[in-house]
Symmetry: C2
Amino acid sequence: MLQPDSVEQTAGMPTKMNSSSIRRLNRVRVFHALRQNPGSSQRELGRLTGLDKATVSVVVAQLQQEGLIERMASTSVRRVGRPETALTIAASAGVLVGARLEPKTIRMVATTLAGEILAHMQIDGSRNVRRAITLLQKGIQELLTQAGENREVRGIGVGIPGMMNREGRLVLAPNLGWRNSEIRPMLEENLNAPVYVDNDTNAASVAECLFGICRTVRNFIFITGHSGVGGGLVLDGRLYRGTGGFAGEVGHLSIVPGGRACGCGKRGCLETYVSEASILARLEELGRTLPDIWAVAEAQGDPKVRQVLDEVGTHLGFALSHLVNLMNPELIVLGGNLAVIAQLLMPTLKRALAEHTLRPLLEDVRLEVSPLGADAVPMGGIALALEGFLTSSVVMAEERSQRRG
Amino acid sequence: MLQPDSVEQTAGMPTKMNSSSIRRLNRVRVFHALRQNPGSSQRELGRLTGLDKATVSVVVAQLQQEGLIERMASTSVRRVGRPETALTIAASAGVLVGARLEPKTIRMVATTLAGEILAHMQIDGSRNVRRAITLLQKGIQELLTQAGENREVRGIGVGIPGMMNREGRLVLAPNLGWRNSEIRPMLEENLNAPVYVDNDTNAASVAECLFGICRTVRNFIFITGHSGVGGGLVLDGRLYRGTGGFAGEVGHLSIVPGGRACGCGKRGCLETYVSEASILARLEELGRTLPDIWAVAEAQGDPKVRQVLDEVGTHLGFALSHLVNLMNPELIVLGGNLAVIAQLLMPTLKRALAEHTLRPLLEDVRLEVSPLGADAVPMGGIALALEGFLTSSVVMAEERSQRRG
């Protein structure tokens, strides 16, 4: 029987891991093990990461030297035998900021390097890219003031509802009206810290891996709805990005032949039926004017609202059947604004999913609502910042050691 | 920016590579490098695999000892400097057999360990599992006789149009009518060699990686049609199997709401429109009785045939849009019986694909017809046998060395 490991080989293009990428991986691995298990000793980190004693020792020494991790006040964590040093992420090491840029809103969160939330805030957004950056800049200042924070900002991660290519260029953000934008350098010029940018749904998917309900799941799909609808695919434990970096365009699956016109130029796309704006527009058609998705959830007793929620559940369940038939995931997580109405969609969603999915694949999958809620994308920004900051500092460390050598 | 490598880490479940799995990978890697580059020296194998000199040396010594690789007659492959030994897969090492089991046919191929075809043959199949095994057993004897072959059969790989779970159990093969079958032990009992079994499309996808057009492609989707329609997903250079091992059920995407009844119990599945049997049935409805897909291809000038091929192209293009929107592949390969009519489907297929796919993802993907043709699944069997044989012999080698130690 073929094993996934060896198939990577048979595909003829093994991922060549050089010593630098292995060092980077080991560093990230040790950091996250300590983040999720504060107070661990080096020995415990070895067990948690599967790395040998010498490797853990080198990584720990380097992280300590950079002030990212430190000894805890209580030093002995072992009941018997020689006392061991309990380690933890250094509180003094600085903070991270995560943000979600949407046409009408900017949502931000500040955390410690360990991902503990210090403050969050939501402000008005803008479709004008310069204006959006200015708003974000002021927002971050206010956020940090509110948190009483004067530690160094080690990184800012921003999730954007758009298609990013493999080089990190924003190709198209239809709902923001941005196209071919060098958004990262523009942000970095205005924000006084390293900036990391990614598609909002990809960012949120990684946040679910790091901070949410998917920590131990190898195959899951994250579905989120804000201005549009996006999907993040974590397959065999890795975020799958596709050839151009555009994988997971769940919102643009054609689910109604010749259906509603979509901003992308096609017809019948899923997001023209299940995005917040589409739901509000459909209710408007039926004579119900509601301001946002929270109002929809509150008005669930209204028969017209019930009718629209049933339609949304049916369309979403049908679209998810394609994902399940193709990807045989263990878990589908509904996040973003979809999380607000997720429980109300379940009856028709589950019916449509069951109707269109092969039985053994249906039995493998479960549906959950994101526990990160509206903070999923901002926390995805934290994940981006954490990752960027951990991997860029290894590059700097390598450059230092090369200069020395 | 997140890197795929580090994301595997952040998903919290790093793939722990122990020394045994690394040895297995190195062994497979060296063997395939030599298979694709016969006459290579150890030094060249090092360059091709990215492995260091000492590792290559150990693997080569082991493979030589087992009689799998040997020195070539001409020993010097280097123009200047010290002469180097040219290596090659040993012709004496034995042969492999690959087979495809279908309700009406069994197709077989015999190759060298290097994958060079010695003979192929197609015989009648059976829906009765015992009868099918007997037919296969006799067929293999005849195949080897025809090839004038008396070298040892090192492995037999069989592709089956069914759902295999992660443990290699056949859960369901609707078109064969087999369910919950321990097919591998049954085959091994009757065939005098180690047997490896997998879903036919997964096997064919790996064959495309090893022997076909996908040797240098990291993200591709293999679509095949025989009695049903299946999909193999190679993502980030690995065959993606999903949680239960059922990923890639392209044939059961619902593409016509309330459409034709499918053998799976659902309605409107893709395969009820584009499998060989469905195409022949649709032609029958229109008053054209044709025996098989080759006859359909020959009758392409007939307006009724043209109409049905246009319908098939439209349905297939629509279904492929889901795959492209979700997975952003670089390449889609049409194989099996679909390969026979692929060029005839292209006009409507491409139109439907373009109509339902987001532009940047459409631009990333190209469509090709499998060069392996009807031998794709049997060659997939060869890939299974090769893989199984290479990895099981490392286990044996380890057991030997443990007994010694």
